[in-house]
């Protein structure tokens, strides 16, 4: 198998299990089932006692439809369902973006934030929260409740484009330059955010803190129609990146000799990650750890071949985010815990445990 040859020399020296594609296919099937299960669980649970089962029964009995209360239908169709769809999109988008970045940068620490998109999106969101009533008021008035997600998306994309321009010379994008410029840009965005935080009032500060902690709350179909196509386009493009990224694991010159159009691969990967992450962050705020934990977990299971890793990341990312959201919705019901807290509280110790147990194995 091509993907099996692409593992790094170090793991080859340890005589790996050989072809893991059969196992990978099994894992994919299990993950798909798990996602279905978690989605069903999510639609059935929540702060209220609204019965999803009743709604489903309503589909089969015309008369049953009438017995269902308006409130239950509203909760299932207009609150839980959009939230689940959004959770799947965001979770899959973040996990796949993470896997793509780790492949492109050949660095296990890379996450979508590395292309500046998180810093830019954060700055865009903070600017809209703090200045939405004053300097950006005309814009906020036109865009209404979509002002915040759009500002975040625009900020994220702008930051990535700047980084990409800085790192590209004579048609070649230097990954190292991009990494370093990303640190500089993040510092700059952090400073500008700091200025905005300084002028913010205490109410805006609370909004800002909650935005940074992330939430799938406030999911609407409109948000899904806005962010969905962007994230789906990235997911649909991943099969075309997989082979190229596998070759890239051998180093850029080797990949070029293998016939991979390295520069084009970099450009498309960076832009689609920026778009998908930007869209995800725009509709859900800052949700950490999915982009790092999910791909690493899967590499332990099915190896680093991107052909299986990328779709598996999408499935596991979606499942984990839905699960985290179910916790965030129910644990302090009827109030809600920001989901970023849940992913970090469970994600960080788990990641730590993996690192301690299997020291060294995560060196790509």
């Amino acid at each position: 198998m091509f993907s099996a040859q692409m593992v790094s020399p170090r793991s080859l020296a340890k005589a790996p299990e050989g072809d893991r594609s059969a196992r990978a296919r099994l894992v994919l099937a299990v993950l798909a089932l798990a996602l279905l299960f978690v989605a069903a669980l999510s639609i059935a649970t929540g702060a209220s006692d609204a019965s999803a089962l009743g709604v489903i029964q309503g589909w089969f009995h015309q008369s049953g439809e009438a017995t269902l209360s308006d409130r239950d239908r509203l909760i299932v169709y207009d609150i839980r369902l959009p939230r689940i769809v959004l959770g799947i999109l965001v979770g899959a988008g973040l996990a796949v973006s993470g896997a793509l970045m780790q492949g492109l940068f050949r660095n296990p620490l890379a996450d979508p934030g590395i292309v500046g998109v998180s810093a830019g999106a954060g700055l865009g969101a903070i600017a809209m929260i703090v200045l939405g009533g004053t300097a950006l008021q005309p814009l906020a008035a036109i865009l209404g409740i979509y002002a915040l997600p759009l500002a975040a998306f625009a900020g994220g994309l702008a930051a990535t484009l700047i980084l990409y321009r800085v790192a590209t010379r004579r048609g070649q994008t230097s990954i190292a330059t991009m990494l370093l410029a990303g640190i500089a840009l993040a510092a700059l965005a952090g400073a500008l955010s700091g200025i905005l935080i300084y002028v913010a009032d205490d109410r805006q500060l609370r909004d800002l803190t909650f935005w940074q902690l992330g939430s799938l709350g406030g999911a609407t179909w409109a948000k899904i129609f806005a962010a969905g196509p962007i994230i789906l386009a990235t997911l649909a493009a991943t099969p075309f990146f997989a082979r190229g990224l596998d070759s890239l694991a051998l180093g850029e010159p080797s990949a070029r000799h293998l016939g991979v159009p390295v520069q084009r691969l970099k450009m498309f990967t960076i832009l689609s990650v920026a778009a998908a992450t930007g869209a995800a962050v725009a509709v859900s705020g800052g949700i950490g750890f999915i982009g790092i934990v999910v791909p690493h977990l899967l590499r332990l299971l099915i190896g680093p071949g991107n052909r299986y890793l990328l779709p598996a990341s999408a499935l596991l990312g979606a499942s984990l985010l839905l699960l985290a959201d179910a916790v965030s919705r129910t644990v302090v019901a009827p109030a809600e815990l920001p989901i970023g807290i849940v992913t970090a509280v469970f994600g960080a110790p788990f990641f730590f445990w993996v690192l301690l147990r299997r020291r060294g194995i995560l060196d790509l």
Binding site: S48, D202, G217, T220, P334, A335, E336
Partner: protein, 298 residues
Amino acid sequence: MSNRRRRAGFAKVMGLAALLMISLEPAHAQDDLPPAFDDPSRIVTIGGSLTEIVFALGEEERLVARDSTSTFPPEAMQLPDIGYMRQLSPEGVLSVSPTAILALEGSGPPETIDVLAKASIPLVLVPESFDREGILRKIRFAGAVLGENEKAEKLAAAVSQEIGAAEALTKDVALRKKVLFILSMQGGRVLASGTGTAADGIIRMAGGINAVGEFPGYKELSEEAIIEAQPDVILMMKRGGGLDADDSELFANAAIASTPAGQNKAVIRMDGSYLLGFGPRTAGAVRDLATALYGETD
């Protein structure tokens, strides 16, 4: 959901928006009160002062939930908590099956307000200002939506009279004291109140002068600005749990120690929701603060 109902919901939201705009105009309080809820039997209050007012009106058996800022009276704590007022979860609110919602201006987020409008749950937003009028307006709004205008007028009159009496305590004070409200001291950095805050409002009502008048909201104050401000008294919230800056930490700050407040060790600590709630208890807070500032004046 039918189109007609959606339109009705939309109209309701627009109506509320219009209502809000009108009531931000200065006090012709009587005219622009909202109509009573159709069914005020299961109410959620969002905003600590509104919850207090519903209790003060004796209508607490209507309450089915509160937000996390509603911590007084103690019985309120027994109601389910639907979270922070600006981060309400739509399903969380719907799960307590409210028939109507009474919320302080700024409750949200807008997506949740949208869903509640869609669920045809009437919601009234009450504007807030940090003075006597603001408190009376909250009481009248609460009374109007509950259909208890008379009770509300009675409570408003009593509260107004109490506040008037409390404010009168300090009207003959010749030398007004400059008060510095410190929200928190994190690692010696002083977060102080400027203008337009609840702290600014209560200091004014108690006959003090806010020592910091240059900026709106709560901001970090530099050491030089503290010396410049020359506060006579430091005002802080009593939080308990050992998190407060105690006197030794407060006066370890060289800038604070050099001010009149530091030299006289003049620190007043009061319960946060009592001091800054701007509800029915505010008259008491004004009286206590005035007494702490100027002693028994009458």
